[in-house]
Amino acid sequence: MPERDEFYVGYLPQAPPRLAQRTRRVAALLVVAAVLIAGGVALGFARLPRATFEFGNEKTFTGTVEVAPYPALLVRRPGNAQGLPKFSRYHLVAFGKHGADEELREWDGQAVTLAGTLVHRDGQTMIEIVGGSVRAAEGERVATGAPEALGEHRLVGEIVDSKCFLGVMNPGNLKPHRACAARCISGGIPPVLCVRDASGAAVYLLLVDRSGGPVGRRVLDYVAEPVRLVGDVERIGDQLVLRFDPREIERL
């Protein structure tokens, strides 16, 4: 039968021979295209920087709880701190897209042990607390002391939710992550301004309002976008904080 006379009927057991051969070729071509596109697209996505969520690896931590402006655990550095602050400050958050304020309110200023999972990136460390694991601990309490004022700055960067950005989701910033960042900050995850210095290294500033309280939902409309913030930078231990007025965020 000449090729143009071949006629395909799907419910017959055999396709006409030439049509069958051609269809096999087209199918093979499609499969090869799928393979090439899989490789191309996988390679096309940007390489992501290191950010770690030690999922499944719970540890125990001991330190002093500080609830304001955002919950943190102050842990004394072992040995001689050699000019570094005498304690490390770990952000504390709860499961999912929730801050740990409620869970920790009653423990403010107290020495505790708690179980949790580490999240870390660029020297910033966070603990996702295992719900209900906080216990009173023996031992000295650490206090942050007065913040060190570093003067007024105008800073250009991106407001991110610290939990995802530090490693729970990678990527944890830019447009595709915007909705998630808003949901996280809305749920109490500390918002952080991520600023790149001239070398491209990231600097993180916890965002607080002019009276030093959490800014929470007041920044939701500006997450993930390039923004300029003007405010007073302070250092609390090893953590930078930006005191600013959330009504004055400027989109770029």
Partner: protein, 351 residues
């Protein structure tokens, strides 16, 4: 064909089709995940799953959308069309995994119901560049769901052809939404020109295929301008029609398939009752007009599917005079018997 709605038979062709589809999809996902994990070790596993299934679904959507015009341009693609339903349902499955993972990853375990968060977490409906792209994907997913859920012939029969067709034309809305979802979503963050290029090339290919196929068909729809005598229009010479095949002409605004078989000529409406397949591109098998798309059959003498099937297409009066075929431009009601025109006078066949 559609008498009882038993499960569609699983014949050898369908098994081959499905096995090839599974192989292609499996290879795509496995390779995407393996390569991504190797070159992007810092990416979260959920991110890779979201990307693998999202891009896989979009790729398959391109295949689904390309098959229609490809078949119109070259009949030899028809074997891909026969089982297109399985492509569509598979594509929906991939998109569903992508959508559910995204919904959980980006919206669950927070202070708002995930489906509310999906629409409200990003509030920038006032901006194009920052426009919430996830709701676009969600609406597309709902459309793909409706299509997958109604893809069986059971629904075609129960919803009625016009409703079913309209529903399935929404695939173009879904495709547009997905393109916007990707352009306003991932492509706002990704900088590799290959990704933008692939999305753009896909869009151009789909639009171009439809334009070319549509343009070719326009020629078909030009009203046939042969001489008319008492309502009969001269449509072609008998020899213009290959044996057991048809020529498609447009009469009174309708496409008509004029078949030549067994030294006879008959004309029926061109649109298959199943999914509007072009009967005139089919052929006569076992004495019946056989649709090129899924093989529904009709008798040329009366436009009826042979029992036990019940589909009917319109029929037309035909004459053959001095080697020319004349068809009356008014259709008979579907299923009306019409005597075929004899090509050679009885008894003079071999003359």
């Amino acid at each position: 064909m559609s008498v009882g709605y038993q499960a569609v038979g699983w014949n050898r062709q369908k098994k081959l089709y499905d096995r090839t589809l599974a192989l292609g999809v499996g290879l795509y996902l496995a390779l995407f995940l393996a390569i991504s994990a190797a070159v992007n070790p810092n990416a979260t596993a959920e991110t890779l799953v979201i990307r693998a299934f999202g891009t896989g679904a979009l790729l398959l959507l391109h295949v689904v959308l390309a098959i229609g015009p490809l078949c119109r341009l070259d009949r030899r693609f028809l074997p891909l069309l026969y089982n297109r339903r399985h492509l569509g349902v598979t594509m929906f499955g991939l998109a569903l995994v992508h959508g559910l993972f995204s919904l959980v990853q980006f919206h669950a375990f927070g202070d708002t119901h995930p489906l509310v968060s999906l629409f409200t977490a990003n509030s920038r409906y006032d901006s194009l560049a920052w426009f919430p792209f996830q709701p676009l994907g969600f609406v597309a997913l709902v459309i793909l769901f409706l299509m997958a859920a109604t893809s069986h012939d059971f629904w075609l029969a129960n919803l009625g052809a016009p409703v079913w067709k309209a529903l399935h034309m929404l695939v173009y809305v879904a495709y547009s939404l997905v393109v916007a979802h990707v352009v306003l979503g991932s492509l706002q963050a990704e900088t590799c020109p290959l990704l933008t290029g692939l999305v753009g090339a896909g869009l151009v290919a789909i639009v171009a295929l439809h334009l070319v196929a549509g343009w070719r068909e326009r020629a078909l729809d030009a009203e046939h301008a042969g001489d008319a005598t008492d309502g009969f229009v001269d449509v072609c010479a008998v020899d213009d029609i290959e044996p057991e095949r048809a020529k498609i002409v447009t009469l009174g605004g309708e496409r008509v398939a004029v078949f030549r078989y067994d030294d006879k000529v008959s004309a029926v409406g061109n649109a298959c009752r199943h999914q509007n397949g072009p009967l005139g591109e089919g052929r006569i098998i076992d004495g019946c007009i056989t649709c090129p798309w899924h093989g529904y059959q009709y008798r040329p003498e009366d436009g009826c599917s042979p029992p036990p099937f019940t589909e009917k297409v319109p029929t037309y009066d035909v004459r053959v005079t001095r080697g020319r075929v004349l068809v009356r431009s008014e259709a008979h009601a579907p299923g009306t018997p019409v005597a075929p025109a004899q090509v050679h006078a009885m008894g003079s066949r071999d003359a």
